[in-house]
Symmetry: C2
DNA sequence: CGGAATCTTGAAAGTGTTCAAATCAAGTGG
DNA sequence: CCACTTGATTTGAACACTTTCAAGATTCCG
C-alpha cells in the first residue's frame, strides 16, 4: 500500500527525502471504495483526496440535455479528487464514481493543506502533479480536433487495458459518441 | 497601459499592496504585436508572457490530418503565453497568433521566474491565475458534452462581441465544425 | 439456470461535411 | 470615386457519417 504511494512520489520527485516520506504516513488512511459508489458529487466541495492503489474511476458531468458525459478516467497510481476544491473550497464541477471496488489511501483536505504549508517536498510534489494535471486538461480539450476513430485509438494507446476494465458505453461517452457508434467503429478497425 | 495591468491584478487580488505593484514596473515592456504574427509557435519554449492591454489572439494546434484547430481565444485583459513552459521550460503544444494589432505588456521568462521567487504577492497572484486557467481548461473539455449549437451559444454568452472581432471560420474551428455549418446554424438561431 | 446488463446489428432519420457556385465586404490602385 | 481583386460568408445539392429506435445476441452474475 504505502510502498506503492512512496514509489509513485519518488517517480515524480526522484530526490524526495526518505525521511519526509515517512512523515506522510500518519496523514493517510487506507480505505476501500466500493463499485458504483460516488467519491465526489457535482456541487459538493471535495474534502478528501485519494491515491488509487488499485482501482478505476470515472469523472463525469451532466449536459443541458441531462445526459452524462465522461471527462476522464483514473486508474491505479492516479490521484482521485479535486485539488482545486481542496485548496480553495470551490464546489466541484464533476462527479467521481468508482467503476470497480477500489483500494485507496485517503487524506483529508485539512491534512492536505497542512502538508502543503509545512512540507516543502510535499508542496513541490503537488506542484508537479498539478502542472501535469493542467497539461492533461489541455490535451483532453485538443483531442476533439481529431475524429472519433482517432480519439479512440489515442485512448487505447494511453490505456491499453481500458477495454477490459471499463464498459464500452462509458468509453463511448468519453469519446462523445453513442455506444452503437463505438461498436461499429471497433468492428471497422479490426477488419 | 500600466494602470490597466494594475487594475487587472487588483481585481484578482484585492489586497495586493500598492507598493508591490510599482515594483513590477521595471520588468514589463510595452510592445505592439502586429496582426497575423505568431507570438508563440508549437514546439518552441515560451520565453515571454504578455498582458493584452488591447487585442485579440487565437491559440491553435494542428491535428493528424494537418487541419488547424483553435483551442482558445484571448482578448483584452488576458495573459497570453504558456505559463507551464515559462516555468518548466517545456515546449509549447500550441501556437499563438494575433488576430488584430495588439498592444501588450511583456515580461521575460527570466524576470517572471525571478518575481515568482521574490515577490510573495506576485506569486499569489500567479497562483490564482493558474487555478483559473486550469478551471478554464476543464470547462473547455466538458463543452464537448454539448451540441455545436449550444457550444456556440455558450461562446457568445462568454464573449458577446466575438463575432465582431473574430472571423467566422475561426469561431467554427473553435467549435469543431465547418464554417458552412456555423453559417447555417446561425441562420437557424435567428429565425 | 434464469435475469439483467452489455454489446451488436439493421434500417430509417437526422445532422454535418464536401464541393462548387453565388453573394457580400473591404481594400487597392487607377 | 469606381472598377477590380481578394477574402469571407452564404447557399445549394449530393454525400457520408452518426444517431435513434428496435430487436437480437452475448456475457455476467446471483
Amino acid at each position: 500500500m504505502y510502498k506503492q504511494l512512496f514509489e509513485h512520489i519518488k517517480k515524480t520527485c526522484p530526490n524526495y527525502p526518505e525521511e519526509d516520506l515517512n512523515l506522510l504516513l500518519p496523514y493517510f488512511e487506507s480505505k476501500i471504495i466500493t463499485k458504483k459508489s460516488l467519491f465526489l458529487k457535482v456541487g459538493d466541495v471535495c474534502n478528501t483526496a485519494a491515491f488509487a492503489v488499485k482501482g478505476c474511476f470515472r469523472y463525469f458531468t451532466t449536459n443541458s440535455e441531462g445526459e452524462e458525459f465522461i471527462t476522464r478516467f483514473a486508474f491505479n497510481d492516479y490521484w482521485v479528487g479535486e485539488i482545486q476544491g481542496m485548496i480553495h473550497g470551490t464546489p466541484s464541477m464533476v462527479s467521481i464514481e468508482a467503476l470497480e471496488d477500489c483500494s485507496v489511501l485517503t487524506i483529508s483536505a485539512t491534512d492536505y493543506n497542512y502538508l502543503l504549508q509545512n512540507s516543502r517536498p510535499f508542496a513541490d510534489f503537488i506542484e508537479k502533479k498539478f502542472a501535469k494535471a493542467f497539461q492533461s486538461a489541455e490535451i483532453r480539450s485538443s483531442e476533439f480536433a481529431e475524429s472519433a476513430e482517432n480519439r479512440y485509438q489515442i485512448l487505447l494507446s494511453k490505456f491499453p487495458d481500458i477495454t477490459q476494465r471499463v464498459p464500452q458505453y462509458y468509453i463511448a461517452s468519453y469519446l462523445g459518441i453513442t455506444p452503437e457508434s463505438l461498436s461499429r467503429l471497433r468492428k471497422k478497425s479490426i477488419s
